[in-house]
Symmetry: C2
Amino acid sequence: MDKAEYPVGRFPIVKTWPVVDGGKFPVKAFEGEVIDFGATAFREGHDKLAVELVLTSPSGKTTRHPMLPGQPGLDQWVTRLQLTEVGSYSYQVSAWDDEYGSWVHATSVKLAAQVDQELMILEGKKLLERMSSGKAKTIAAKFEASLKILDDKKLSPTEKFEKVIASGVSELAAKHPLRERETLSEAVSINCERKLAGSGSWYEFFPRSEGAKQNRDGSWVSGTFKSATKSLQRVSDMGFDVLYLPPIHPIGTSHRKGKNNTLVAEKGDPGSPWAIGGKEGGHDAIHPDLGTEKDFAAFVKAANKLGIEIAMDLALQASPNHPWVKSNPQWFTTRADGTIAYAENPPKKYQDIYPINFDNDPVGIHAEVLRVLEKWISLGVKIFRVDNPHTKTVEFWQQLIAEVNQKHPEVIFLAEAFTRPAMMHTLGKIGFQQSYCYFAWRNTKAELASYLNELAQESADFFRPSFWVNTPDILTEYLQFGGRPAFKIRATIAATAGPSWGMYAGFELYEAVARAGSEENIDNEKYEYKARDFVGSEDRGVSLAPRIRLLNKLRRENPALGQLRNITNHYSDDEQILVYAKRLAPEFNGGKDNTVIVVVNTDPHSVRETMVHPDMQALELPHSFEVEDLITGKKFTWGEHNFVRLDAFSEPAHILRVIR
Amino acid sequence: MDKAEYPVGRFPIVKTWPVVDGGKFPVKAFEGEVIDFGATAFREGHDKLAVELVLTSPSGKTTRHPMLPGQPGLDQWVTRLQLTEVGSYSYQVSAWDDEYGSWVHATSVKLAAQVDQELMILEGKKLLERMSSGKAKTIAAKFEASLKILDDKKLSPTEKFEKVIASGVSELAAKHPLRERETLSEAVSINCERKLAGSGSWYEFFPRSEGAKQNRDGSWVSGTFKSATKSLQRVSDMGFDVLYLPPIHPIGTSHRKGKNNTLVAEKGDPGSPWAIGGKEGGHDAIHPDLGTEKDFAAFVKAANKLGIEIAMDLALQASPNHPWVKSNPQWFTTRADGTIAYAENPPKKYQDIYPINFDNDPVGIHAEVLRVLEKWISLGVKIFRVDNPHTKTVEFWQQLIAEVNQKHPEVIFLAEAFTRPAMMHTLGKIGFQQSYCYFAWRNTKAELASYLNELAQESADFFRPSFWVNTPDILTEYLQFGGRPAFKIRATIAATAGPSWGMYAGFELYEAVARAGSEENIDNEKYEYKARDFVGSEDRGVSLAPRIRLLNKLRRENPALGQLRNITNHYSDDEQILVYAKRLAPEFNGGKDNTVIVVVNTDPHSVRETMVHPDMQALELPHSFEVEDLITGKKFTWGEHNFVRLDAFSEPAHILRVIR
């Protein structure tokens, strides 16, 4: 066997992290993200090993970062770095024989024991000579100075050693190491994407509802991109970065769903935007009620001007009236009787939807979807929220996202796959920048603490969660039955724990009534227009908008909240008072520490008092410190054990910034 | 990007097991070992997926084994197989579109709901026609028969479906599946070694002590291979498979250690066998006191005749008198003053030992060690116990073991590396067939339960532990202070929990006195001769030999005890009563179930009563069952909750065989 065929090198480096499936997929990161790098590396015998992280940035700059021992006994080496460039990073771990370190250790022990004293000084001289050899004059001169000390006949061996160490030879050696017998681990790629891929606040509205008006006869005039443009200021005022629109394409008429998901639509029912395609066109067309392509482009521009990006829906399915049904019937499944298969979950039928068959003509459907995406990208869209990606082949997404991102690395795909972990995680691995997650159904302290830990510690390398408090499909029991405190609690947790969080219009109005037997709003906007009185509600004090504004403001002012991997759980004695913290150390935040501790009463029906015990070591907190509650502005002196009282009916949370 | 470059295939298979470091190292197995295979595989949408294990044996035979769903919600697929051929296996997981399964499911649901009844029969016909197409006449005829049922105009759709299912079409389809859109995982190698690599009982003695005699003047006559041959019957009677000998080479005289590890040897002190090399030769020579090469070969043959293999020590270090010091000084480290570096752990010096430097001449030292091994292999040695492999480079062992095993696949290397897990595990991964482990220091119920679980569930793919109750270097506090019950308890656990276990001579005589301040026997055999009265002690009832004989007999009669991966922990209400079980299901044991439940009082100073609650599901136990205690021969009726009383002073354990 050739030496190169053996898996282990001179110094075993048996594990490095972050890594996804042994390097099969690149690690996910986003601009400004702080990442813990580590390796399990060791050597035979008792001599010293040096371990470094060798990082190559997208622009090709390679830097070396010393790694320090981690958990004792586990041969782990760690360092923490912030990625600041968008593009493909790669890293390797380098391990080499730390001859200088071994010499310093052995010499100090032997001098103390009065063993081999002259010999150790002689060994040191030979080592420094080797380190100096071939170096530039200025550096060689510094080594020369050290050698002179070791040669000084007036000094005893111990004096020589103490003097040469005091002269800074260790720092010199660290700067110019020998790196003998260097072993490098396999390179691992990190895909560092733009900030919104990992961090941002999202709002969802149906443009047809924004400015929609009901006539006296009960019929409706649809909102348009023009009327919806007026709503952008409201979204911007609340501090959102992204506005996500449900599908804006023509809607099918065959088997159109009526109000409250009834099987037969009445006259004037607009239909579900997800029943895509009609005589006016398919996925590349705009619903005529909403306006023209020009109107859409203007809407996108107006949003961008307010600092808002538009996210479009990509729902790969067709109504029976979609142009594809005639032009490309091979993109659907034809049944034995010659009809096209509609969606079904036997015995349930969804006759308004034809699912796409990705096996019949994978090349054709891929090309068509690419064409559609290119069109919307050309109109200013850089974010796509993908409807039910788990009902399409993973292979399809893998190729599509890779091709789109190759040409448009700024494009972000958000996966709406509420399914089992294997599929959800794999969609993240193969390219989805972000994913809806189970946050909506994690409501108790225990559930949330465990889920936050999973998301931050276990899956952050490949799965970036988006914390949605509600959607047109999701109105959880917690919100249905928790009253207004529930809405406040959920928004507070989503906005502070989730680097990405989202909210669907109506949440701020505490819309809490579900259609019987379902987990979604009654009179659901999916099947009808909704004209909401946002301004009036706020005037009457029946709106969460002020809190939303505050939360998004705090997110902007506290960059620690924009990170995922930095979540740490902390203790409280109460079974429903959740405590977590996020920190950006000064070196990752322009020299300013940013530590935020969030304490929330997760029981919306109670007033609770308890003691909170922060993990002082994890947050590098002093014995006593000041915190400022960013909700009330009040300051407290905190330490290892702190009393809190949280009244869900008035204020269920503290958002505490540590003043250092 | 080329399609082949994408990591995920048509059906994602994101994980398969067993696997070691993503396939970097082959999985370890041994002849007869039963292994759990698994995969995480899933598909989009709601249709059915079929998953199979495709196993290729060393002789090139490929077999397919259906995998069944594992833990719900995790998309896991599992099967359990026994490897019976020595050599390199490889496996892949195959996932394909289970069109037949999807049709059966949809049809049964739709017929019940009276939806698409005729259509589903039509779909079934088309599917069966495709499955039949191109098949051999006899098989096609069977499909024909099914199709006829579906064509029978006298039957309703439901009758057709029920009749065709009753006709055995599902079994036919399972035998002749379409396997459309088959996706294969990457191949993983399994190195299946001979049984002793994973399972066996070991005994250690110093040949120079076996038959050694003390003269009246206090001087000794060394035992020889000839005199030690007489001891083989004793070892064989106790039922051991392997006899391990400490180094048998000439011993250095410079700085030779005296009795009890003193720095100066007295006249007649034989020295430590690990200080290898003298004027009579080095690692390729035999200590003249022991005899000649011929004597050694005869000794090996005599052992083999009794069913015992000889394991030799491989201690890669030299005394200052080793021939290598003159012939190849580059294999050692020369210090700045020109002297050769002896072993040290500053300020401690081990001047009787020169460690080898593997960096100066890796090719030369490799060739020399290979030559030495080949010599011993030619004399009948097939097992090497490697002394302190963790103080040599991993690279060296990796290459050496690969080369030796390529030529001599039967050769087994046992690593004696008591160090941190990264090194211990890596030595297993790179080739060591077996490893000393931390069993000796796991004494309480909690420690043992956790360690057994780790060894059987977490590291079994790459680390095969050997459970030694003692060694010349290890006399644990538990044995020093636990009295005779401690010896009985430890032997019982080692022999029943460990598929490989070992014992160093003297254990059966309850030798429990340590040298002060050390964790090894006083008057240690490493530095002097030991003439033990095995027969007399047994006659006086002061010997554990009868128990050892019983334990090794039970091991032969209960093949479940020879497996590692089958250990399961079970509950008892007492904090020191340990309960574990091992099972071989009938299909892996010639049609006969073998289930052994071991209940041990791990506290050697107590009599304890408690309830034992076996995990009925894990062992597939009926509500009530008979067990036979293999120590006493008594039978009990057991169920979910069972009373036990274990008196450490008389009998601290039950070894219960389940009678099915």
